[in-house]
């Protein structure tokens, strides 16, 4: 089983991404069993969703290729969940259209439902039934053929390491076990597109890593048109890096869409952090000598420059302040988000919470 490291650099994933991309063109022309040939796994045009006055999704366009692991990244309240709910036929779009596995999410709701698997943030299991009973119930609702059911059941339960616990009632399961069982259930009926809404939120690092290892296994399984497409939302930057492509959402819009590498490259600068004897003097000197605007982040003078490794040695010779420590890092997706929105994801989340609080307070006052 592949293990997943939770650090920022992971060459294995980059290689994997490249491999998938090479396969993709051969896959496009294939198709069978009601899935239209040459179509995207998910295609979205001008999608809008309003809740009264609030515009949660403000017109997005999106094409997700078959077999891709696609991430929707953004702070809470950016419109990710509304978008995914519309794609899953759980929410009607106010405007625009979307197809999933070649079927329209409004007009062909049932065909969409037949071809998707869903894993939500909140558990949707029946705690009073056993794990196996939950899966069998699901299989019946989706009409999984009897002949394959037993094998399939064992396969998905073994994948998430719950085969031994199949006869336990779900209410005895931990949060991580429940999530794993939901993933098994989401895969049971062999969906073409698997939607994962914040699949790792609220889980311990170990379980998060194991969930990613399942996703990576899925990505390796099958080939051609049989490879499952995975669409997920997350607000964990480090996890988004495992996706083949990501769309960064903010305030109901997609503000950037590309591979994690391309997005990071688009930032164009590396992040340099220095600790000095006199930070104020250092900032002034950087401004005057190099024309660089720096600020203090996490207790260190921080700024962005292209090719940071080449720039760092110059600092020691040319900066009039003694440097105690220096670090150069490649831009993370956090920096990408920052460069497109001007704020970090964490700040954006804090702001959206503030807005929410203000709105609630206003509603209370006017309604009171």
């Amino acid at each position: 089983m592949a293990t997943v490291r939770a650090d920022a650099t992971h060459p294995d994933v980059v290689l994997l991404t490249a491999g998938i991309r090479a396969n993709r063109d051969t896959r496009r022309s294939c198709g069978r069993n009601g899935v239209r040939v040459g179509h995207s796994a998910v295609s979205v045009r001008g999608l809008v969703r309003r809740f009264g006055e609030l515009e949660a999704v403000r017109g997005i366009d999106l094409d997700i290729r078959p077999g891709e692991v696609f991430g929707l990244l953004g702070p809470n309240g950016a419109g990710k969940s509304s978008t995914i709910s519309m794609l899953c036929t759980l929410l009607r779009p106010t405007e625009g259209s979307a197809t999933v596995a070649g079927h329209d999410v409004v007009r062909e709701r049932d065909l969409v439902r037949r071809n998707i698997g869903l894993v939500f943030q909140d558990p949707t299991l029946d705690g009073y039934l056993t794990a196996e009973r939950n899966l069998r119930l699901h299989a019946e609702l989706y009409g999984v053929p009897k002949a394959v059911l037993d094998d399939r059941l064992r396969e998905v339960l073994e994948m998430v390491g719950l085969w031994e616990r199949r006869s336990s009632k779900v209410l005895t399961f931990s949060g991580g076990m429940k999530r794993r069982l939901e993933i098994a259930r989401g895969l049971l009926h062999a969906p073409r597109v698997l939607f994962l809404d914040e699949p790792t939120v609220g889980l311990d690092p170990q379980t998060r890593a194991s969930i990613w290892s399942y996703i990576n296994e899925l990505r390796k399984s099958g080939d051609g048109p049989d490879r499952i497409t995975i669409v997920m939302t997350t607000h964990y930057m480090d996890e988004a890096e495992y996706c083949d492509r990501i769309a960064i959402m903010d305030h109901g819009r997609i503000i950037a869409l590309d591979t994690p590498e391309a997005l990071k490259a688009s930032v164009g600068t590396d992040r340099v952090q220095i600790e000095t004897d006199d930070d104020t003097a250092a900032i002034v000197a950087l401004e005057q000598q190099f024309g660089i605007t720096a600020s203090i982040v996490e207790g260190a003078v921080t700024f962005g420059v292209p090719e940071g490794e080449l720039f760092a040695p110059r600092l020691f010779s040319e900066l009039p302040v003694r440097i105690r420590r220096v670090s150069v890092s490649r831009p993370s997706l956090d920096d990408v988000f920052m460069s497109y929105t001007g704020s970090t994801i964490r700040d954006a989340e804090a702001n959206s919470m503030d807005r929410l609080r203000q709105q609630t307070a206003m509603m209370r006052r006017s309604g009171g």
């Binding site: 037949r114 009073y128 119930l137 399939r152 490879r227």
Partner: protein, 284 residues
């Protein structure tokens, strides 16, 4: 061990698929009920309290007017209806429960008609409620009602209809309730008035006008009436006693035939099922 590419696809929508959906929903209700012994007992406590405690206690006051018929015997048909009423309403509560704990969403995204889900749910609740009715039927001997095959079959048939209608009523109510506490409070508010007004505890004649009117509007009236007919048919009562204790429901002086009472129950059950289905079909 990677998961293999599955060699099957989910089939197209079919009648068989809908029947399967009805069956799994039914099965789930029954499994949950049978695995919860406590619930089996608690939903019987109230009817049995009414029958044996209230019935026994009050019989000392009323024995003069009931011509030798024990008050417990008189109450028995009403208690049958009450056992079904409580269990049916309680079964429907699981919809609210499922909504709160997320399982409802798993069902709502399934590629089957919402109608099949609601129907399966109502049938499951009805099965469970009928089962409780059967337990009360088994107690017939304790209150002087004979174990007669016709009586049992007829009473059972009526209980099945009533159980379905009441579960549909519960599901219809539960469709819009978001919290289990609210549903429980609502049930408390509905169950006892429905039962008291239905005439389960008194003959529905010579009542003050206001009570007469609400009695005729109470759906449970039309269930209690036929059940009482069936039970009293087997007690060997004289015509005058029968007339006194089982006067029958009248609409503005016109005696409502038993068949019409049953029709009222069936039609109400279907209408409420339709409303429940419509409510869940609207849900996004």
């Amino acid at each position: 061990m990677a998961v293999s590419a599955p060699a099957f696809r989910v089939p197209e929508r079919s009648l068989g698929g809908e029947v399967r959906a009805i069956r799994v929903m039914w099965e789930r209700e029954v499994i949950r009920f049978t695995s919860d012994r406590l619930r089996m007992i608690t939903s019987l406590v109230q009817p049995l309290l009414f029958l044996f405690v209230l019935g026994t206690g009050l019989s000392t006051l009323t024995s003069l007017h009931t011509d030798g018929i024990n008050l417990r015997t008189f109450l028995y048909p009403g208690i049958l209806a009450m056992a079904v009423l409580l269990t049916a309403m309680f079964s429907a509560a699981s919809i609210v429960w499922d909504r709160e704990f997320g399982f409802l969403r798993e069902m709502l995204v399934a590629p089957v008609r919402r109608g099949s889900l609601v129907l399966g749910k109502c049938l499951g609740g009805a099965t469970v409620a009928t089962f409780q009715g059967v337990v009360v039927i088994c107690l017939a001997g304790l209150v002087g009602v004979p174990y007669d095959a016709t009586l049992i079959v007829e009473a059972l048939a009526l209980l099945i209809l009533l159980a379905f209608t009441l579960t549909a009523f519960g599901v219809m109510v539960a469709a819009r309730v978001r919290q289990i506490q609210s549903y429980m409070a609502l049930t408390q508010m509905l169950v006892l008035p429905l039962f008291f007004v239905s005439g389960g505890m008194f003959p529905v004649r010579g009542l003050p006008t206001w009570l007469l009117v609400v009695n005729r509007l109470d759906p449970l009236t039309y269930a209690v009436q036929p059940i009482r007919r069936v039970v009293f048919d087997h007690l060997g009562l004289s015509a005058s006693v029968r007339e006194q204790l089982d006067p029958g429901v009248t609409w503005n002086g016109w005696p409502v035939p038993t068949a019409l009472c049953i029709a009222v129950i069936v039609v109400m059950g279907l209408v409420m099922t339709a409303i429940a289905i419509a409510q869940f079909s609207r849900e996004d």
